[in-house]
Amino acid sequence: MRTSLRVNGRTREVEVEPRMTLLDALRDKCGLKGTHAGCEHGVCGACTVLVDGEAVRSCLMFAVQCDDMEITTVEGMAPEEGELGMIQDSFCETHGLQCGYCTPGMVIAARALLEKNDEPTDHDIREAISGNICRCTGYGQIVEAIRLAAKRLRESNVARSPEAAR
């Protein structure tokens, strides 16, 4: 069936089976390969995207459920091609990743946190990423990245995100 997906500010009309997950639709119908399949049971968080500002597991939603919702994937996090957003740059600064497979989900989870709370404690940060499994880093440098991103966001005068500015 036909559904309309608004992803990273652009609306796409896609033909999907009713059983197709949002994850598969993003990857296979929209060509956005940054969102990754990990467990497909809603446990690991690799497929995390923002739907109307909330971090959700795209493997647990059907594409047809997202008609007319605002979806943000990791590809929507960079202001320009080749230019990193503040959260992304913070992950690079602290090396908050290794293989990069869980990273898009982590970056999205960080954004969901920082949009609500720009002075997170370490406990808040760990809580926010506790649904995202990383097998490489042991989370230490991810916590550092989000701590750094929060500090930079507080110190900058820009709105936290396009959504927050609206």
């Binding site: 960079a78 690079c92 990743l97 290794q98 293989c99 497979y101 990273t103 499994i133 097998r135 440098q141």
Partner: protein, 798 residues
């Protein structure tokens, strides 16, 4: 500049790979699209062992979009069995079961369809008729006379039973003042990357080449695929520019690739298999060592450990593969960091009807370290000695390096006492003990855990000839190439896939260091396997040593060529020249710029020194440092470099609920010269998290009927940001005398000691009840049950 006068090595520089990943622009195998691609789903066996009577794919084939259904009989008629590490020719393994299956979940048929969803639908329609066979899942039962053999043709379940005697063991036991014995068990866990294994195979009939894109970490992968598919080695082209979503040892991918390679040729279309989580957990390259250690240790009453007898009994699962070699690597550090004078080691590898064991981070070293460290704790407990003191007393001393251990390896360098001192000072050990006692006074269980261990690194795979006399392997080389192009820009080629280790950053850093140019100006590329120099992939904690050495030496060769050219231009000998940041200075104040040298090398053959080749390029094949002789009489050097780690932790839990909490985690780490501090830190922290999982949470558990109980992330539990504490790292640097910059390995750090330290902390916490918990993972329920049982017998505090 660092102390050693280095500009880029050891500097806190960013990891270049990170940019593409944070943007979601990695290039994982599942991201690749190809026209006409067909998709595979697997049909799995239900019983742990059953004879396959018939497989009927007709109903599946009749479904729209289904292209093919194949079974093991068809595949076995077309391909060679997969390679075994040991000389066990009757333990045959094919990508799909042939005649019978040998574990629940084993793949018995493959369905190919226009989409993965259609292939999964059709897999449910494949009719499989089977007759149940006898099975065995317990390793000790599998050894009993009359046990059902997993491979009847092999005759028994024993793959390997080898006893090494690095004497004088009996004399040392007789002379020692005391002895004790213990048994500990390492549960079946693994690395479980978040990306499952994936592969795309595409056959070019007009070129006669099989193109392969895969999420692999496998030495000699292309060779094995070619052998199995009966095609020449140069007919397999593996694309190394695929990002691998975590591996830590397991992503071997041979059976998946042989299956897809066969299908791609048969169907004339690109064929893709991306395992789903269930396929991966049950039958992908998913499971790691599962090992029972029986130890006898002989010691004096002052705590000096004289000798050790260790039997390691390993449950290899249903096939042989490379798994038994995981009993061999620990021979390279079989005495840990201690001066134990003699060792008897019996290595036993046994088949059972469980999923096949594959390589896991540390290749058997972490289970062995857990056994050695538990032994040290037990000796201390027996003697009433302090656990740190007993370690100090037995540590090899700084001035004793290079130190040859009884099994023949020479430890290159180390300063274990200093690392321990630094950790105790940094952690304020006395305050830590006071905190433990304060928590105990509150009625909580609190314990301090200690572990010291080694990370053998950069090996030449000597466990292969050691355990299989037909195998003469004495090199495990790595190549790299450095080009300076006609515009003077530098490109380094590396010849492997990476799964998060930052090899592009490593290569750029060392080449930048040698050529004294900013590594950010250096491009790093990964040619495909047919355009690559020989290499052995990032296994055995080797790339800092081996790829680092290869790239640095290639850069040195290029620099030598530049000096020769400049010498010719200035009419002086190269020895009179000084190279500085790309400019070459002569003795009389004259100089030649980088661009001028490049111009001569690329365009002005007449100006080149006689006998010099045009173009600025160099390849270097790095041999493993150290002693390359084959093992003799069960003894030989296994690894050249040995990193050291010392873990000190404080754990606390409620005696009834027993939910463990790590209050403090301090690790002292000495891996010689660090090339990139971010990378080494990440490896260590990640290794500790993995070790926490192995110690407390993760297990591929089977029921008595041979069914895997933990098949998804809902029941195979991995540490989240809640379970992994903030970790403090205390650095020390004892350079290796054997490597280019003094670097050693760090890819397995943290994981090698964390399980032992956690087990030690729990034991310290339950000491009042006199309880031993000798199997990992130590579950909350086991702890609270053991405390309750002890209290019923009147032991403990209350």
């Amino acid at each position: 500049m660092s102390e050693a006068g280095r500009r880029f090595i050891s500097a806190n520089r960013r990891v270049r790979e990170d940019r593409r990943f944070v943007a979601g622009h990695g290039r994982f195998v599942a991201d690749l699209e190809m026209p006409e691609m067909a998709h595979v789903a697997l049909v799995a066996a239900q019983a742990p062992a059953a004879r396959i009577v018939s497989i009927d794919g007709s109903e599946a084939l009749a479904m729209p979009g289904v292209i093919a259904v194949i079974d093991g009989a068809e595949l076995a008629g077309a391909v060679n069995p997969m390679m075994n590490g040991l000389d066990t020719p009757n333990v045959k393994r094919f990508p799909l079961a042939v005649g019978q299956n040998r574990y629940a979940g084993e793949w018995i048929a493959a369905v190919v369809a226009e989409s993965r969803a259609l292939a999964e639908d059709a897999a449910e329609k494949v009719r499989v008729e089977t007759e149940p066979l006898g099975y065995v899942v317990d390793v000790e039962e599998a050894l009993e006379p009359g046990a059902t053999p997993v491979h009847p043709e092999h005759g028994s379940n024993l793959l390997l039973d080898r006893t090494f005697d690095w004497g004088p063991v009996e004399e040392d036991f007789a002379a020692a003042e005391d002895r004790l014995s213990l048994r500990v068990t390492w549960g079946r866990n693994s690395t479980v990357p978040i990306e499952t294994f994936g592969v795309i195979a595409k056959w070019h009939a007009w070129e006669g080449v099989l193109d392969v894109w895969a999420s692999i970490q496998m030495p000699k992968y292309a060779d094995q695929i070619a052998r199995a598919l009966k095609i020449p080695g140069n007919a397999v082209r593996v694309h190394y520019d695929v990002d691998v979503g975590g591996s830590y040892g397991v992503k071997r991918g041979i059976k998946q690739t042989v299956l897809c390679g066969y299908l791609a040729r048969k169907l004339g279309r690109p064929v893709r298999l991306i395992e789903d989580r269930l396929e991966n957990m049950r039958a992908g390259d998913a499971h790691g060592p599962e090992r029972i250690f029986d130890i006898e240790v002989a010691f004096d009453r002052d705590g000096t450990v004289r000798s050790m007898k260790m039997r390691a009994l390993d449950n290899a699962g249903a096939y042989a593969g490379r798994a038994p070699f995981q009993l061999g690597k620990p021979i390279g550090a079989i005495v840990g960091p201690y001066r134990i004078g003699s060792v008897q080691y019996r290595a036993m590898s046994v088949t059972t009807n469980k999923t096949v064991q594959e390589a896991v981070r540390g290749f058997g070293q972490s289970p062995t370290n857990y056994a050695i460290e538990t032994m040290m704790d037990r000796v201390a407990e027996h003697l009433g000695m302090d656990r740190i003191e007993i370690r100090r007393r037995n540590f090899i001393r700084k001035e004793e390096f290079p130190y040859e251990i009884p099994s023949g390896s020479k430890y290159d360098s180390g300063d274990y006492h200093t690392v321990v001192d630094k950790v105790l000072a940094s952690a304020d050990y006395e305050a830590l003990v006071a905190e433990r006692d304060r928590l105990r006074a509150e009625g909580l269980c609190a314990g301090i855990g200690i572990a010291s261990c080694l990370e053998p690194s950069g090996g030449r795979s000597s466990f292969e000839p050691l355990l299989n006399e037909k195998n003469k392997t004495s090199t495990w080389m790595e190549g790299s190439r450095v080009n300076i192009d006609g515009l003077g820009d530098v490109t380094v080629a590396i010849h492997t896939t990476s799964s998060g280790q930052g090899h592009e950053t490593l290569a750029a850093t060392v080449v930048g260091e040698v050529l004294e140019i900013d590594p950010d100006r250096i491009r790093v590329v990964r040619p495909d396997s047919l355009g690559s120099l020989p290499g052995n992939s990032p296994v055995g904690s080797r790339m800092a040593i081996m790829l680092g050495g290869a790239a640095a030496n290639a850069a040195k060769d290029v620099k030598r060529q530049m000096l020769a050219i400049a010498g010719q231009m200035l009419g002086v000998s190269a020895e009179q020249l000084r190279y500085e940041s790309g400019t070459i200075h002569g003795p009389a104040g004259q100089s030649v710029s980088w661009d001028e040298v490049v111009d001569v090398a690329h365009r002005r053959f007449d100006d080149l020194p006689p006998g010099t080749q045009p173009g600025l390029t160099a390849s270097f094949m790095q041999q493993v440092p150290g002693d390359a002789r084959l093992p003799e009489n069960g003894k030989g050097e296994m690894y050249p470099c040995y990193s050291f780690e010392f873990h000190l932790i404080l754990m606390v839990f409620d005696p009834v609920l027993a939910r463990p909490e790590i209050r403090r985690y301090v690790i002292g780490h000495d891996c010689g010269t660090v090339i990139n501090p971010h990378i080494v830190k990440g490896m260590t922290l990640g290794g500790i998290a993995h070790g926490i999982g192995a110690a407390l949470l993760e297990e591929f558990a089977y029921d008595a009927e041979g069914q895997l109980m933990t098949q998804s992330f809902l029941d195979y539990l991995m540490p989240s940001a809640h379970e992994v504490p903030e970790v403090e790292i205390v650095h020390h640097c004892t350079p290796s005398p054997l490597t280019e910059f003094g670097q050693k390995g760090s890819g397995e750090s943290g994981y090698l000691g964390a399980p032992a330290a956690i087990s030690g902390a729990i034991h310290d916490a339950v000491r009042p009840w006199g309880v031993h918990l000798d199997k990992l993972p130590i579950r909350m329920s086991t702890v609270s049950d053991a405390i309750a049982a002890a209290e019923e017998q009147g032991k403990g505090y209350r």
